[in-house]
């Protein structure tokens, strides 16, 4: 970490805030209600999905809709291996399974440009789901699986740990040569290839790293659902919600997706409990509005305001 020149005096204040936040969150289950712990488990999960989506899709501009696939692979890994192994091993297995499949898929498909890649990754979700359902109906003759139950506090802490590891990973990637390579691919892929970046390898690895965390989150979440089947594990919403949360929060800064995911999960929770029949319509409307009017997300708006207040001196921070 010492080699990273970014940790300077300017990072002291945000660093301090993050430290206090971490301590508060780590101690939260001991002083807050059970509802809060469950809700925060959800919030952490969506932050993990959103931030890991942003690791790959943010800098490169490739819209991946495979989040639900990697999440679902994690869920299934947990269902299959949950009885025999301890939770942490299961999470590792879920993450690695997603990582492996992402490597394979990424290597095959990251040659595809823009929109085709998005469709392809989305098709992956449907493909795995229908295949699993067919498999369960015809080969294994079991529909659905029961997952080992883990109590909410453990889910909270495990999600929390995954989240911290993810944030560190995302931070390091952002400030490394690897992150710069990703960014240059997003800006001009051919130019990036010409200056000696192996674009396929860089993209594939970033894709697989993001898939690892999605799979890990899925493996944890499965334990809370206790019963799963293909349509639950591979719900296509898990592909779209992280995209929406990332756009809503803004991808320019690392904390953008975190803020987007936190606000949105809370809103989603409220909407589902208060007006479930309108929830999806509102979801769609917010998605359209966010894409139309918030190209840089909430963070972008705050930054614009900030620049205006400071008189435009720090326009490029």
């Amino acid at each position: 970490m010492n080699s990273i020149p970014f940790i300077s005096k300017r990072a002291l204040v945000p660093g301090f805030i993050i430290l206090i936040l971490l301590i508060l969150l780590a101690a939260a289950p001991s002083y807050s209600s059970a509802y809060f712990v469950i809700l925060m488990g959800d919030v952490f999960m969506y932050i993990i999905l959103t931030v890991s989506w942003t690791i790959f899709s943010g800098p490169t501009g490739y819209i991946s809709l495979a989040t639900a696939a990697f999440f679902g692979i994690g869920v299934y890994a947990s269902a299959v291996a949950g009885n025999e192994f301890p939770l942490l091993v299961v999470i590792g297995l879920g993450g690695l399974a997603s990582f492996g499949i992402a490597l394979l898929v990424g290597f095959l498909t990251l040659r595809l440009k823009g929109i085709y890649f998005a469709i392809f990754t989305f098709g992956l979700v449907t493909l795995i789901e229908t295949f699993l359902r067919w498999w369960e109906l015809n080969i294994s003759h079991t529909i659905g699986r029961v997952v080992v139950y883990v109590d909410n506090t453990t889910v909270y802490y495990v999600m929390f740990i995954i989240l911290v590891v993810l944030m560190l990973t995302a931070f390091i990637i952002r400030h490394s040569r690897f992150g710069l390579a990703l960014q240059s691919i997003g800006e001009h892929e051919e130019a990036a290839a010409h200056i000696g970046i192996n674009v396929t390898v860089v993209k594939t690895i970033a894709f697989a790293i993001s898939a690892f965390f999605m799979g890990a989150a899925g493996a944890v979440m499965a334990t809370r659902w206790t019963y799963i089947e293909p349509s639950i594990a591979f719900n296509p919403l898990y592909s779209f919600i992280p995209v929406l949360m990332a756009i809503f929060g803004g991808m320019g800064q690392l904390y953008g997706p975190v803020i987007g995911a936190t606000i949105f999960t809370y809103l989603k929770e409220k909407l589902i409990t208060e007006i479930p029949e309108l929830y999806m319509v509102i979801f769609g409307v917010v998605m359209v509005i966010a894409i139309l009017y918030l190209p840089d997300g909430l963070v972008g708006i705050v930054q614009k305001l900030w620049t205006r207040i400071r008189g435009g001196k720090r326009a490029h921070t």
Partner: protein, 291 residues
């Protein structure tokens, strides 16, 4: 044995006709307006549900309802493009950025339309029977309604092909498809033409939905499957080519028919997708594609 083979092949072609119609619509929306309309299937859902509603509640003949659902979905599509996608187009830095943003906005539309349909007509499965008597085709037996919808799908595709090839508006659309910016410089009202294309695309989906409702049972989640099929057919046949869409539609229909007969109908979508994967990796411009 021969009869079952005939069954499968004719069944596949009949299925392919409707796939082609759906794909022509998407091909217009993506090929010309550059909007990969993931909500395409939702217009099929709208067409199908309103035809079901008109038929079972108001006693309107499903074929007559085409005259209602077609214009209605056209207007909805036209207005959506004029308001939503036009704004996205003018605020996006590049075509690539516009394609990404418009695809995500279309996902938003998908959720809105699908759930508005649920709010209006409920989430239960619906079906009705129309023109369902059997017809014998050289030993293979099909419902008459399947032949009717095939005929209509091909006729609509043909009419639209002639419209594009022979009329002034059609020429404007073809010019916009080749080079939007230059077409604008030549005096074509681009905003109008693009909205027209999007509207026609939505209309094709609406008409296809009305036709489909005669033969399948409808549920609110059916849209996405047809969107995926349309995308695959468009990639298969090459962007912006109506004959290509029909060839792609027939191929996909045959594959679907063969897979569901010899393997399992659950694997249909997986088979389409497998075909799509191979195609994208081997020949991304499609069978009749130019580049």
């Amino acid at each position: 044995m021969l009869v079952t083979f005939l069954d499968v092949v004719i069944g596949g072609l009949l299925l392919g006709g409707i796939f082609a119609l759906i794909a022509v619509g998407l091909s217009l929306q993506y090929g010309v307006a550059r909007v990969l309309n993931i909500a395409h299937g939702e217009f099929i859902l709208l067409g199908a549900m309103s035809t079901w509603w008109l038929h079972t509640v108001h006693g309107v003949n499903p074929l007559v309802s085409l005259a209602i659902t077609g214009p209605a979905t056209f207007i909805i599509g036209f207005l959506i493009h004029r308001t939503l996608f036009q704004r996205l187009r003018s605020t996006s830095a590049s075509t690539g950025a516009f394609e990404g943003r418009s695809m995500l906005a279309a996902f938003g539309l998908l959720f809105i339309i699908q759930n508005v349909v649920i709010l209006i007509w409920g989430a239960d499965i619906k079906s009705y029977s129309y023109y369902a008597f059997p017809v014998n085709l050289g030993g293979a037996v099909f419902g008459a309604n399947r032949l009717v919808i095939f005929g209509f799908a091909v006729a609509i595709g043909l009419i639209f092909y002639l419209f594009l090839a022979r009329t002034r508006q059609g020429k404007a659309i073809r010019a916009a498809a080749q080079d939007t910016a230059t077409a604008g410089l030549m005096g074509i009202n681009i905003k109008w033409v693009l909205a027209l294309c999007f509207g026609f695309g939505a209309m094709m989906a609406g008409l296809a939905g009305s036709l489909l409702s005669m033969t399948i049972s409808l549920n609110s989640a059916m849209g996405l499957k047809y969107t995926i099929i349309a995308v695959i057919v468009v990639v298969l046949g090459g962007m912006g080519s109506i004959p290509g869409s029909f060839i792609g539609g027939f191929i996909l229909g045959l594959v679907g028919s063969i897979v569901s007969y010899y393997l399992d109908s659950l694997l249909q979508l997986a088979a389409y997708y497998g075909l799509f994967m191979i195609l994208l990796l081997v020949r991304p411009a499609g069978i009749l594609g130019k580049k």
